[in-house]
């Protein structure tokens, strides 16, 4: 328990919050790296996901990508990029590696969001004389928005978490507290860093959950539950089990249990 006391007094010392390896500058740079990586991933993931979803093609490709991104270890890709002489141990390496991993949830969720829009709704919209473009912008995208938002939330959280690891390839993140602390055997600093990372991740999750609830239809109660409990469909979409809180909102377009429950993970 000495270690816990040490960590708390580390956090209590104002000098540890500023300057080299200070908590505040590291937090800022951690957030910056996360946002840049997700922005990069969102440009690619949204464009490809929406295009494929609009064309209703490439389902196998999307599933393969989702599965591959789960099997390839993040640590490995970080080390691989860092071993590349032209990149080396820099913040750019960290951002690129994080972006590669953030593409998968964004792409798979926007794709799934697009292809699960009710066909009859789309037909009704075209029947009313809306052009393909109008149907896409006015009907499909708004209906796919909850899933797209869920994908962005997962990507942001996952990237924030992975950025912790990225400190060993040159990303200035809160992971520095853990890495530097380990090499200098300052375990109070290591533990203090872990506490900061965990607390910020949880706060970030709640904030993103709130933002996600704003763009998601449903009762207030159901919304709030979604804020608290991670939306499950983003974790394993689109390879099968897409049941999110089954029964909570039967009319919810995101409840894909109809064709999800009997399928298995990788096909």
């Amino acid at each position: 328990m000495d270690l816990v006391r040490g960590a708390l007094s580390y956090l209590g010392d104002g000098a540890n919050w500023h300057g080299y390896d200070g908590i505040l500058p590291l937090t800022w740079s951690h957030v910056k790296i996360t946002l840049l990586a997700v922005l990069l991933a969102a440009v690619i993931g949204l464009a490809v996901g929406i295009l494929l979803g609009q064309a209703r093609r490439g389902g196998g490709l999307v599933t393969a990508l989702a599965n591959l991104s789960r099997a390839v270890p993040v640590l490995g890709l970080l080390a691989l990029l860092a071993s590349n002489a032209s990149l080396g141990v820099t913040a750019t390496t960290a951002i690129l590696a994080l972006a590669v991993f953030a593409v998968a949830p964004i792409l798979t969720n926007s794709y799934t969001g697009m292809i699960t829009v009710d066909r009859e709704t789309v037909e009704a919209a075209s029947g009313l004389g809306m052009s393909t473009r109008q149907v896409l912008l006015g009907v499909k995208l708004p209906l796919a928005l909850p899933l797209i938002a869920a994908g962005l939330r997962t990507a942001l959280l996952q990237t924030f978490a992975t950025a912790t690891i990225a400190s060993f390839v040159g990303g200035e993140t809160l992971g520095n507290l853990i890495n530097d602390g380990q090499s200098t055997q300052r375990y109070d600093q290591v533990l203090a860093g872990a506490i900061c990372i965990a607390v910020i991740a949880i706060v970030l999750d709640l904030l993103l959950g709130g933002a996600q609830a704003l763009v998601t239809p449903g009762s207030r109660g159901a919304r709030w539950r979604r804020v608290i409990s991670r939306s499950s469909e983003t974790l394993d979409a689109p390879s099968g089990r897409l049941t999110e809180h089954a029964g909570e909102s039967p009319s919810d377009t995101r409840d894909l249990s109809g064709h999800g429950t009997q399928r298995t993970g990788i096909s």
């Binding site: 099997a71 490995g76 060993f168």
Partner: protein
């Protein structure tokens, strides 16, 4: 020797991305890392599966328990792995792999419990009533009716958990407890590209093979799911 051997493909001057000479020279290191990785993954999966079933049954009791348990598991899932490993070190010690095992068992619960729940909820109420009517007790009902019907969902959850555990385990390398993760990190630190790539290939292959084996087991255990397709 008449022909002077050139520098090996993993030496600093060549540093190939992949190199059989490296695999050959370091086979005992690779093997050790591999065995540790597999052992830890198997241990984590074993413990996770044993815990997840009672947890799911508990969650099934009331709405309140269900949302509490799922929220709690989601909360654990939100904590980044490296931070969770370090947070568990004061409790479970710094010199062995227990913090990594405990953390990954915690992550696995969200994936497993959610799938077990989906599976158990799929059991039709009429089937349960019919079984009770013919004199099935609670335990027999669970073992003979509910779990077999829920099996496809449960096995899908186990597959998902297996792949993510094998991959996530490598992060343990950062606290010197990670099997193949440590191999990768060590390769990066010593600037031996072949070592990094070999580590990644083995992890991905391990995840794919484990997934395939479980898929086969799933097909064999639940032949009825393929009827009519």
């Amino acid at each position: 020797m008449l022909l002077a051997a050139g520098p090996s493909c993993y030496s600093q001057s060549v540093n190939s991305w992949f190199c059989w000479q490296y695999v050959h020279d370091y086979s005992s290191d690779i093997q050790r890392a591999f065995v540790q990785h597999v052992e830890l993954a198997a241990l984590i999966l074993g413990i996770s599966i044993v815990i997840s079933l009672p947890l799911a049954l508990l969650a099934l009791r009331t709405r309140f328990l269900r949302s509490t348990i799922l929220s709690l598991l989601g909360f654990i899932y939100t904590i980044p792995s490296l931070a969770l490993f370090v947070l568990l070190q004061p409790v479970f010690g710094v010199t062995h792999a227990t913090p990594v095992v405990v953390a990954l068992v915690g992550y696995a619960q969200l994936l497993l419990v959610r799938n077990v729940l989906v599976g158990l909820e799929e059991v039709p109420a009429e089937v349960l009533e019919a079984a009770r009517g013919t004199g099935y007790g609670a335990v027999r009902l669970l073992l003979r009716i509910r779990i077999p019907i829920a099996l496809p969902a449960i096995l899908a959850g186990i597959r998902l958990t297996t792949v993510s555990t094998i991959s996530l385990l490598s992060v343990g390398g950062l606290i010197q407890q990670g099997g193949l993760g440590q191999l990768i990190l060590n390769g990066q630190q010593r600037d031996i590209r072949a070592q990094v790539v070999t580590g990644i290939i083995i992890i991905v292959a391990l995840a794919l093979v484990a997934d395939l084996v479980l898929l086969l087991a799933q097909r064999l255990a639940t032949p009825w799911t393929r009827m009519g397709t």
